[in-house]
């Protein structure tokens, strides 16, 4: 597979905002000018089942599915969903879980998907303005301030850890 394609998998269970998270991510990559493919496995998600969203971006992307063992990043919103998705991650890939976020600092518990996007964003080439623009347009405007706070909390984690 060409190395220029970045593979991201977001996993969780129905109602956690997995698909919203992948929507935002894909939109940011699209606006940054990349070829983008986004795939969803939602099957029976409304009945409490697993939900997985996959985003691939780069100069040219073929298959919409992240091949097993080739995900660069795996974002998991629900701890039970780590095991069923870990096989997607490449050996040096990065796993991100809610454990990275101090829940007390979140504006609300629901914003964990946006906070983890913030953590992810620090690894990706797209600039902060693109992310904030997609967050503003992707949700009801009344959620924007909380989402911005959650996003920046995640985005600045690494900076805090390594001042």
């Amino acid at each position: 597979m060409p190395v220029e394609v970045t593979n991201i998998v977001v996993a969780g269970i129905g109602g956690q905002g997995v698909l919203k998270g992948t929507d935002i991510l894909a939109e940011v990559a699209l606006r940054a000018g990349f070829d983008v493919k986004k795939s969803e496995i939602k099957g029976m998600s409304q009945r409490g089942g697993s939900v997985t969203g996959e985003v691939r971006f780069g100069p040219e992307v073929y298959s919409p599915m992240v091949p097993t063992g080739e995900a660069d990043f795996l974002l998991v919103l629900e701890p039970t969903q780590v095991a069923p998705n870990r096989h997607l991650l490449r050996p040096e890939g990065v796993l991100m879980t809610p454990a990275e976020i101090n829940a007390d600092e979140l504006p609300n518990k629901k914003a964990i998907n946006v906070a983890l996007l913030g953590v992810l964003s620090a690894h990706l080439p797209m600039n902060e303005q693109l992310w904030l623009a997609s967050l503003r347009e992707g949700f009801d405007l009344s959620f924007f301030e909380a989402n911005k706070q959650a996003f920046l909390l995640g985005r600045n984690l690494r900076a805090k850890a390594n001042p």
Binding site: M1, P2, A11, I13, A26, E27, L30, R31, A32, G33, D35, V36, K37, K38, S39, E40, I41, G43, M44, S45, Q46, R47, G48, G49, S50, T52, V61, Y62, S63, P64, M65, P67, T68, G69, T80, Q81, A83, P84, N85, H87
Partner: protein, 543 residues
């Protein structure tokens, strides 16, 4: 980097809908079914006239009527839906159309949400219809225009065959900048083409074969098929989503990508096979392409039988290329779905389990009643089968067993094809009678809460006439018809079920309570309808 406002990220379903809108499709009809459902929903959102029919057969007939009337029509369904619609499909191939008719069949290899993984490319051969297979949302968009062009040129319905990954993957689309013009219908009488009595059908079959021959000649040089130049030591013939996996797994190979896959351009395929040292055919599902190519006397490699099952992906395509037959590691399964904790059907399934009923089930959320802790479902075959299967069991089982048989069906499935089974129940009642339970949650919950004739709202959630299932059952002559709200913490439902099982009569129990997941929407619709009533815009619906 610059923002490209022209590019959109659309699912294949949305791309089909947008193209249908841009191409001036006058009417879209279908029945919900994963992975096709979003097409008509998006078509209506884009301003098109999209409607749910009670089932796929009716939907196709509505679309055929629109196309007889000279308009452009779209009909959507999942793969198994085409089984239901196959009766009109085969003969519409004979009648042809006056306007355009595009029939979307959305196949589900791997069965993300289906009861089988049939490969509907076989229908193109069986019905003798042209078939296009897009690989991405851009192609899905473009191929709708091409399907309409082919349909109008040869006056024939065209199959647009898509699969789950094409339908549900979001990929970039640059739409055409075209003004939307919906051409109105205009009737012209054409008895010999449209009335399929044998005297008309015999020449119609010959006309159909002639059209196919002409389309084949067209397809031999059609740009819907193209060659990706590359290393000629390995050539790959492929179509649909498999093309994408092939490009990634074998980026240097020479590829013949087929977009117009029936009738197959075998001369072109032969020229390709002759131009490469080793030629592989990589396709998902049945060996459709490889069998046809081998039957033409060409030497190509297919895939091992184990790859007939499930979806292909890049790692599986690599295995096919490398002849790797080592056991595949099964993918870990996620959290399985279950009936919602607060779902009223739990009360019903608990009662069925406790009474050790033999449950002829059906297709919908409630099929999950088969899982722990209930395991209260004994069969699930196809849409509407619960009635017929339950009645068949009642007819042959010894009385003690027969009296435990119950048919269980959801409201949307009942409207789809359960009504026919109910007629059978009235016409051929088993000696022990029968019990039908209709789980009426006022929506098509499984596929994402679509409306149906029993909800009294259209695809766009606007008020319309409502088919009242209890009135229908009574009108058919069933005397014991009960409407009950299944509630936690009471034994009302269980008592009623017990009473019906004790009698050797025909009983229909409608267990009615709206799905908890749409409580908010139902309030909004009710408020909107009330406001509309005050405006006195639709007095007929306000009684």
């Amino acid at each position: 980097m610059k923002i490209e406002s022209e590019r959109k990220l659309l699912s294949g379903d949305e791309a089909i809908a947008l193209a249908a809108r841009h191409a001036g499709v006058a009417l879209g009809a279908g029945y919900p079914g994963t992975p096709s459902t979003e097409i008509l929903e998006a078509f209506a959102e884009y301003g098109g006239r999209g409607q749910w029919s009670p089932n796929e057969k009716v939907a196709l007939e509505v679309a055929i009527g629109a196309a007889f009337g000279g308009a452009r029509a779209l009909c959507t369904m999942k793969h198994v839906g085409l089984n239901v619609a196959s009766d009109p499909l085969f003969t519409a191939a004979y009648t042809g159309v006056t306007g355009a008719l595009v029939v979307v069949t959305a196949d589900d290899p791997g069965m993300a949400s289906s009861q089988n993984e049939q490969d509907n490319r076989r229908y193109a051969v069986a019905a003798a219809l042209p078939m296009l297979e897009p690989s991405s949302s851009q192609e899905a968009y473009d191929f709708v225009f091409r399907a309409i062009e082919i349909s109008e040129r040869w006056k024939i319905p065209v199959l647009l065959r898509v699969t789950t990954r094409v339908c549900h993957s979001y990929t970039t689309v640059v739409p055409r900048n075209v003004p939307v013009e919906v051409r109105p219908g205009d009737y012209s009488k054409d008895i010999k083409s449209r009335v399929m009595i044998p005297a008309h059908a015999r020449p119609a079959h010959r006309r159909l074969r002639q059209k196919l021959a002409e389309m084949l000649a067209y397809n031999e040089s059609c740009d819907l098929n193209f060659i990706v130049p590359g290393d000629r030591s390995v050539g790959v013939i492929t179509s649909g989503i498999s093309y994408m996996h092939v490009r990634e797994a074998l980026p240097t190979a020479c590829v013949l990508k087929l977009g117009f896959t029936h009738p197959l351009p075998l001369d072109r395929i032969k020229a390709f096979v002759d131009s490469v040292d080793r030629c592989l055919v990589i396709e998902e599902g049945d060996p459709y392409l490889v069998d046809a190519i081998r039957a033409a006397g060409l030497k190509v490699e297919g895939k091992p039988e184990s790859f007939r099952f499930g979806e292909l992906d890049v790692p599986r395509v690599r295995r096919i290329i490398n002849h790797d037959l080592t056991p595949e590691i099964p993918k870990p399964t996620g959290k399985p779905p279950q009936l919602c904790d607060a779902c009223q059907y739990r009360v019903v399934f608990e009662s069925l389990r406790r009474r050790d009923c033999i449950v002829a089930g059906d297709i919908g959320c409630y099929t999950l009643g088969v899982l722990q802790p209930f395991e209260a479902m004994d069969s699930c075959v196809c849409m509407g089968a619960s009635l017929g299967v339950g009645l068949g069991l009642r007819h042959v089982l010894p009385e003690a067993q027969a009296r435990r048989v119950v048919s269980v069906i959801g409201d949307s499935t009942f409207m789809h094809s359960g009504i026919n089974g109910l007629v059978e129940m009235v016409y051929n009642p088993p000696p022990t009678g029968h019990v039908l339970v209709i789980l009426d949650n006022a929506t098509t919950a499984m596929t994402g809460h679509q409306e149906h004739p029993g909800t009294g709202r259209t695809l766009s959630h606007e008020p319309t006439n409502r088919v009242v299932m209890e009135d229908l059952a009574r009108a058919l002559g069933i005397k014991r018809v009960f409407v009950i709200e299944p509630r936690f913490g009471t034994s009302e439902f269980d008592q009623l079920l017990g009473e019906c099982l004790d009698r050797k009569e025909l009983s229909v129990i409608i267990a009615r309570r709206p799905c908890i997941l749409i409580a908010k929407q139902l309030k909004q619709y009710a408020a909107r309808e009330e406001a509309a009533c005050e405006c006195d815009t639709k007095p007929a619906l306000c009684q």
